[in-house]
Each structure stands twice: as C-alpha cells, then as structure tokens.
C-alpha cells in the first residue's frame, strides 16, 4: 500500500490564494485528517490529490507513481489515478442500481460479468449492504447511500481512500456509528486514507494524525492528543476544542520552570514547555481550570460568572477574572458567587499567533 507525498502546492482563484505552499506526507496505512473551517483549502487539497483541481505549482506522488509535478509538466488525469473517493454528496448515480453503481469501476476496467458480480457481492458484504444489491438510490437512506459510495470507491481495491466530509449529511446519532465503523474498516483493510472535515470530534476520534489548516496553510500536525494538548498555534488551540487565552510576562526560575504573570493571576501560572521572549500567550482547556466555592482560598482569583450552559454531562461557565474571560467546565452545578478559580501548574501551554492577539477579553456587551 502506498504513501502519499504532497509537496509545495500553490493554487489561486483570482487574487485569493486557496493553497499556500501545502506540504505533507501520509504514511502507508495511515489515517490522516485535514481539519479546518470552510474555505481553508482542505477540500481543494483533497481534490488536487484526486486530480480534479490542478495546482499552479507543486508535486503529488502516490507510492512510486507521480500524479502531479508542475515543474516536470506531469499531470495525470483523474481517471488514471486509481484512487477510491467518497464525495460529500455521495454521488451515487441515481439511474443505476446499487450493484451497477458498485460494479461501474470494474466495468470500465473491462472485467467479465461473473467476476464483477462476485466482487460486487463481496464489497457490498464488506459494507453490510449485501441485501440491497437491486435497490435504486432513491430507495436508500442517507447512511445506506454513503455505504454504497464507499463500496464503489473500494470496488477495485485501491490502496488509497479519499473522503470528503462523508458524514456531513448524516444525523448526529448515525454519524457517531458510521465513524466507528468506517475507522474499523479502514484499519482492517490497511487503506492509506485522507479525510477532510470541519468537525473536530470526527477528526479527533478517527485520525492517526491531524493536519489543521487555515487560509490555505497547514498550521500544525500531530496525533489527536498532541494537537489537543500542545496546539502550538493559537488558531489550532481555538479550532480544536474550547480554549481560554491569557497573556502576560514570562519568567523562568533556576529549575527551568516557566511562569506566566498576568494582572489577573499576579502569583503566576506554571506553564508547560519554554518560551524565549519576555511576553507570551498561553492556552488553557476548560476542563483543566479549577473552580470551587472556597472563598477563603486567597491563592486563587475571584471570578464573576457571566453565564452558564448546561451541556448534559457537564456545566460550562463563562467567567470574568479582571479583564480576562475564562471558560471553565465542571461536572456539577456550583453557586455563582463566592467562587475562586485556579489554574493548576502544568496545564497551560504556550501558543503562537500571527497577530499577537492578547488574552480573551470580555466584550463590552457582556459586562453589564
């Protein structure tokens, strides 16, 4: 099974650069997710691999085959790339039965009737759609259509699977099941997979590796845990999960422990990792912040609760500490006054940002 190498892709639509030097590698059998907001270039990247978009510069190779190399003038047609792809709309052809849809890639490869039938049966069993061979797409639910699209993509055993937001048309419950099921299938078949989504839950739960994109660039990459714990970039921290940001002065003591001092936390917060400059921004996850009702804890700051949301399994509080706004989660409901918040040592992590945006500050509208 092949690995995919994407090098220095640049693509513009008019003045707008949708891909700005995109480079990454997907290892053999790896499940890599391109995650980002809409318009970040993730789908354009996927379509470049599939051959439906031609970047102005760059190269794409799959195993030992070169798909695209603008400097060498190579641009292999989409139909000659032998990739399996599942589109956002599934694109199950409405005038063909399930069997004809799945058999199409085999038919254009001139396989015999018997071989096609066997293979179609096999792939449909794989996606648990064996009993629907003779149905037409309009007789299928969204989830079933998605499985047919997947079976069609897998019919000629491609080594690479490309998935363009395949779950966005499913309802929440079904989506969760489809996720687990698809991940297992990918793992069992050992498919090198590139997955595009804007849904962080999907990305975190399915990927071996995550690439977060914004504005045509890849901002960070790593395992789901790495991305969540050490986002590195402020945008990544904001996009994956919820985060609060604090800016202040950095001091490093003799043992090498970094401490961030802000007006709200004059005693300083112990931060993971190191930071060279005197000023920095750190990110803190809501579940890492401690909030409690011991008003006599003078090591902690005193917050004002701005609002509470009940999320089912937990409560989320938006609180103001001085000028800073923090998001805190608790498992049980707490009183809204006489509170203290504390940021335990080692939960905050340094983040870089393009514009050096300061702490999350309270909007004027929230202060009343």
């Amino acid at each position: 099974m092949p690995e995919i190498r994407v090098e220095h892709l640049i693509k513009s639509f008019g003045d707008h650069r949708v891909l700005d030097d995109v480079t990454f590698t997907v290892k053999d059998k790896e499940f890599v997710t391109l995650l980002g907001p809409s318009g970040c270039g993730k789908t354009t990247t996927l379509m470049s691999i599939a051959g439906f978009v031609t970047p102005e510069t760059g190269a794409i190779a799959c195993g030992d085959e070169t798909f695209l190399d603008r400097s060498a003038g190579v641009d292999r047609a989409a139909e000659d790339r032998n990739l399996g792809i599942v589109f956002q709309s599934y694109a199950v052809w409405p005038h063909m039965t399930v069997a004809a849809n799945v058999g199409f890639p085999l038919k254009v490869r001139r396989l015999g009737r018997k071989a096609i039938r066997e293979r179609v049966e096999e792939v449909l069993d794989l996606v648990e759609m064996g009993e629907y061979v003779d149905r037409y797409p309009y007789q299928l639910s969204g989830g079933q259509q998605q499985r047919v699209a997947l079976a069609r993509a897998l019919a000629y055993s491609p080594g690479v699977l490309l998935l363009d937001e395949p779950f966005s048309n499913l309802d929440a419950k079904l989506r969760e099941r489809a996720r687990a099921w698809l991940k297992e299938l990918q793992h069992n078949l050992g498919l090198t997979t590139v997955f595009v989504t804007h849904d962080q839950d999907e990305a975190l739960s399915m990927s071996d590796r995550l690439l977060v994109m914004n504005d045509g660039r890849i901002l960070g990459g790593g395992s789901p845990e790495e991305i969540y714990r050490e986002p590195g970039e402020r945008f990544v921290a904001e996009f994956v999960g919820r985060c609060s940001f604090l800016s202040g002065q950095v001091t490093t003591d003799a043992e090498g422990t970094c401490r961030l001092t802000t007006p709200e936390f004059p005693d300083g917060i112990v931060v993971r990792g190191h930071h060279p400059g005197p000023e920095a921004t750190v990110a803190v996850r809501p579940e890492d912040i401690e909030i409690h009702e011991h008003a006599d804890d003078f090591t902690a700051a005193e917050p004002i609760v701005l609002d509470v949301s009940y999320l089912g399994d937990r409560y989320q509080y938006r609180v103001a500490v001085g000028r800073a706004e923090l998001v805190v989660q608790t498992t049980r409901r707490i009183a809204t006054d006489g509170l203290r918040v504390r940021i335990p040592p080692g939960v905050a992590t340094f983040v870089e940002s393009d514009d050096n945006a300061p702490s999350t500050e309270i909007d004027e509208t929230h202060e009343s």
Binding site: E79, F87, P94, H95, R109, E122, L126, A153, G190
Partner: protein, 584 residues
C-alpha cells in the same frame, strides 16, 4: 479510536491487479473537437457564402462575376425596399408593445392573483408556440379577414365598425398573439424565481393590490420585460408568412416578404441584392441579440429559476374583478387560438366559408380528398414527417453531445459552444435559408449531394432550431451534480464513458422533451426552406404558402388541420416527458 484485531489485510490477493490504469490512452478530445467543428461549421458556415454572395455582382453560377457593392446599391435604390423597411419597423414596434403588455399582464394574473382558472390559462396561453403558424394565419384570415366569417357577421349583420386584418395594426395584433407566449414565459420565470414576500411586505405596509403591482411587481419584472421585448422585436423583423398571406389585398410587404418576392420573381434569378438585404438584416438582428445578452449578463438567462420559500404564499385577491378578469383572459385565448383553429377545421370541410349560406349546406369532403390524392401534398406530409423525426433525433443527439462538451468537459474551445448553440435561433429563417442555398452550391461536394433532396432542408431546419434543444437540455444538465462526473472519473471512466453511461442516461427525460419540441418545431417551421424547396422535396409549410398564393384555400386549410392533428398527437404522447422536465 476503534481498533479491532481481526486478521488483516482482508483484501483478497486476486483483486490486487485491478488497481491499474483501466483504459488505453484514447484522447476524448479528438471526438470533442469533431463535434465542436460540426456545430461551428453548421451554424457559422452558411453565413459565409451569404456574405460572399452579397458582395458579388452576379450569382455564383453565372460566369464573369466580380466583387462589387452592386447588390447593396440596387437594394438601396429600390423604393419598395424602404417601404418594406418602414412597414417592418412599424409592425415590429406595435407587435412588441402589444405582446409584452399582454404577456406581462397575463403572467401577473396567472402567478400572483386568485384568478379563477389560472393554472389552465397558464398552459393554454402557450398554445401559439405549438400551433402551426401558417394554419393559425389562415384560420385568422377565414374568420377575421376582410371577407371573414366574423368580420362580415359584425360588420354587415350587426352594422358595427369593423377592423382591417390586412393592415399593419391588424397584422401586429396577430403577430402579438403569436409572440405573447415569449413575454408570458419570461415574466412567469421571473415571478416564480422570486418569492412573493416582496409583495407581501408591501401589502402588510398597507398598499392596495394595484399599488403593489405598480410599485413592486412591475419594477421587479423590468429586466424580464426588457429582455422579452428585445427578443420579440428581433423575431418580428423576420416574419414571412404574415405579409405573404395577409399583405396582398393592401399591397403591404415586410422585409422578409420583399426579399422572398425579389428572389422568386425578379428579372435576374437569385439576385445579389437579396443576399445584401439578408446580410443587413442579419447584422441588425445579431446586434439586437448582443444588446439582449448585455441586458441579461452572459449565460444567466438559462439558469434554472426555482421557487424559494413560497409555502405560505397568499395570492392577491382580485375581489369583484375575479370573474370578469377570468372571462377576459378566457375570451382572449378563445379569440386568438381556439376559434381560429375551429374556423380552420370548418374551412377544411366546406366549399367556401361565407355568411350567405349556412356552412352545413356547403359541407364537402373535396378538400380532404385533395390532400389524400394530390401527390405533392402527400409527399409534403411524408417529407415533413421524415424531417421532423430524423432531423429532430439528429439535432437532439448533436446538441446533447455539444452541451456536454460545453459544460462538462475540459475541451479547450468549450466556452465558444454555448453562444454558437444560442445564435441560430436569432438568425432569421429566410436568411439561414439563403445561406444554405449558396453553401450547397458553393461547397460542392458535399453540397451537391444534399442540394436536391430533403436532407438539405433537414439540415437547414435542424440548424435553425438547435437552440430549442439546447435550452431544454442545458438547464437539466446544470441540475446534475458535478460530483456524479467526478465519482465516475475517480472510478476510472473517461469523458465518453461518463457521457454515455452517466450523464446521458440521467438526462433521458430532458432528451425526450427536447425531441418532442424539436419534432413539433421542425414540422411547423418553414422559412429556412422557402429558397431550398424543389419539386419532390416539398414540405408542409412551404407547400401551404405556394398553394395559398395560387388561391387554393380549402386544401391548405385541410393540410393545416393535418399538421395540427400530428402536433396534437405527438404532444399528447410526449406531454408527460415535458411536464416531468418542467416540474423537475
């Protein structure tokens, strides 16, 4: 993350070899280039010899011709030409005003008010599109002409002042009745493309229905009105049947009939001045089409308009005007379409249609016998049927392929195809006819092999109506998700395979509807053939014109009824296909 440790990989090895290039590297662009070339040659081709012919002082087939502007100066020196120009412009202006005013009013009544019967009216108002135009003119003449049945009834028996159909205003009324569906359809599309919340907002702000229409609906329709006005004006410049049938009593000629008469009865056969006149009209009409495209913004006019929201739409209440308005619309349809058709049927079954004797005393089957026994008329019917079936099928196939290239391929000249497919309908029919006449003479072979048989006529009629197939097929294609093509390409299919196995099968209802429309249009259309028809290659329309000019009226009416019956049968067979398209 789910990880299960079933034995992996589960891919059976015998399928491993499948993941290789599925097809030989056969470039689809060669076929695409061929289709592109066929379309461009067919549409632009005939216009080149036309321009050439207009710049020679003698027809091609006479020896010793030279380049000159004689054709143009002869034309400009003829007072009859300027007379025809004046008549045509006056006629076109009147027709446009009447058709646009009527079409807009009916569109608002049928789409925004609680007019009783509005759904049925919306269909019946389109009847002039499918009624054979010559049959309708003859029907009008029989009833509303100077000695027409109803004219005499009103004038002599009731002693009321009567109209004169054989005048420019008279012809403009008939022209407007025929052109009205264009304005109606354009305004209807604009109205159903915007939901009624704009009007509802004005009503809840306290405006009365007439105020809403004047202040909101009409201004909103302005682009549609302007657009259909330009189109109707352009189409009115080229009418041929009207002046040929209704003009003679008053000696009124229009541009097209002037060219036709100069061509057929001039001293010199096929004079350069006719080609010159054709070139001038072509320039004017093309310029109008460009203006229209500017008004609309390139391709937007064929973009599918869908009703957004709309669920809670409450039509405007006409109150006490409901029934009078409904009766007025019904009367309009009856007077312009239904009664003339009945008149035509009556005319085909009597010796003469006159008030002096009741029609049942004059009943005869002579006209029908004439149609059944006259070799020429029988041949005209069979030729027209062959052209409608074969030409319709070929045109739909060609346009389908060309539309796929224009909108679903990477062919490097694809952007030129859509304008090329839209253009022929703007070229006046007789001009295209003259163009093909010279092309078949000049480009020989292969011109000679189609010049003296119905294939030459089939090509001319088919090319002129390519646009119709395109405007039916393109919106349906635009609705097909482009991910269908991409999924097929990712599966390894090339352009041809995608066209054949994915897009064309999905387009099947649109192709059928396009064929039905093409069949009806090819059967009814005649002006591109008036210069091409020879003994043995008669078609219904041109034969009706020629017989009528010889004064043989009864059989012409019978022939028109035959044509209408064929159209009715084909439309009722194809009706489901057409409605499926409209509601898709």
């Amino acid at each position: 993350m789910t990880t299960s440790t079933v034995d992996r990989p589960r891919w059976p090895d015998r399928f491993r070899g499948l993941a290789r290039s599925p097809r030989s590297l056969r470039p689809a662009s060669a076929a695409q280039g061929l289709i592109w070339a066929v379309v461009v040659v067919l549409v632009v081709g005939p216009l080149v010899p036309l321009v050439y012919a207009s710049l020679r002082n003698k027809p091609f087939y006479l020896p010793g011709g030279a380049f000159s502007l004689d054709g143009y100066s002869t034309l400009f020196a003829d007072p009859a030409f300027w007379e025809a120009v004046r008549n045509t412009v006056l006629f076109a202006l009147l027709t446009t005003v009447l058709a646009v005013a009527g079409g807009t009013a009916f569109a608002i009544l049928c789409n925004r008010t609680n007019l009783p019967g509005r759904k049925v009216y919306a269909v019946l108002l389109l009847a002039p599109i499918v009624i054979p135009p010559l049959g309708l003119i003859v029907g009008w003449l029989a009833l509303y002409g100077q000695s027409g049945y109803i004219t005499v009834l009103v004038g002599d028996d009731l002693n009321l002042p009567v109209w004169n159909l054989s005048s420019i205003p008279g012809m403009a009324v008939l022209g407007a009745a025929v052109a009205l569906p264009i304005a109606f359809l354009t305004c209807q599309a604009a109205l159903s493309g915007t939901d009624s919340s704009l009007e509802d907002a004005a009503r809840s702000a306290g405006a009365t229905p007439p105020q809403v229409i004047r202040r909101v609906t009409l201004p909103m329709l302005r682009p549609a009105i302007l657009n259909s006005a330009v189109l109707i004006f352009a189409l009115s410049l080229e009418v041929l049947g009207l002046p040929l049938i209704l003009g003679p009593p008053a000696h009124i000629d229009f541009y097209a009939s002037y060219l036709y008469k100069t061509w057929t009865s001039g001293v010199l056969p096929d004079p350069p001045s006719v080609s010159a006149g054709a070139v001038l009209l072509l320039i004017v009409v093309s310029a109008l089409l460009l203006v229209r495209m500017r008004l609309l913004g390139s391709e937007q006019r064929f973009v599918v308009t869908t009703t957004r929201g709309g669920g809670t739409y409450q039509p405007m209440d006409l109150r006490r005007w409901r029934w009078p308005a409904s009766a007025a619309v019904g009367a309009f349809i009856a007077v312009t379409s239904l009664v003339p058709l009945l008149g035509l049927v009556l005319m085909s079954s009597v010796r003469a249609l006159t008030r002096l004797q009741p029609p049942w005393e004059l009943l005869t089957t002579d006209n029908w016998n004439h149609v059944a026994t006259d070799v020429t008329l029988r041949r005209a019917i069979s030729n027209s049927l062959i052209i409608a079936v074969v030409g319709g099928a070929l045109a739909v196939l060609l346009v389908a392929a060309a539309t796929l290239i224009a909108h679903r391929s990477g062919f490097f000249l694809r952007r030129t195809l859509a304008p090329t497919l839209i253009y022929p309908r703007a070229v006046p029919g007789i001009i295209l006819g003259i163009g093909f006449f010279w092309s078949y003479l000049l480009v020989n072979p292969p011109g000679g092999s189609v010049r003296n048989n119905i294939w030459g006529e089939l090509i001319a009629l088919g090319v002129r109506n390519l646009t119709l197939a395109y405007i039916v097929i393109y919106p349906s294609l635009a609705r097909i998700n482009a991910e269908f093509d991409r999924a097929a390409r990712a599966a390894g299919a090339g352009w041809w395979t995608i066209a054949r196995r994915i897009l064309l099968p999905i387009l099947r209802p649109a192709l059928l509807a396009a064929f039905v429309l093409m069949f009806v249009t090819l059967l009814n259309d005649y002006d591109p053939v008036v210069f091409l028809q020879k003994p043995g290659t008669e078609i219904i329309g041109v034969t009706m014109l020629q017989y009528f000019q010889r004064g043989v009226v009864g059989p012409v009416a019978a022939l028109a009824v035959v044509q209408i019956l064929i159209v009715a049968v084909v439309l009722s067979l194809g009706w489901r296909a057409i409605t499926r398209i409209r509601h898709a």
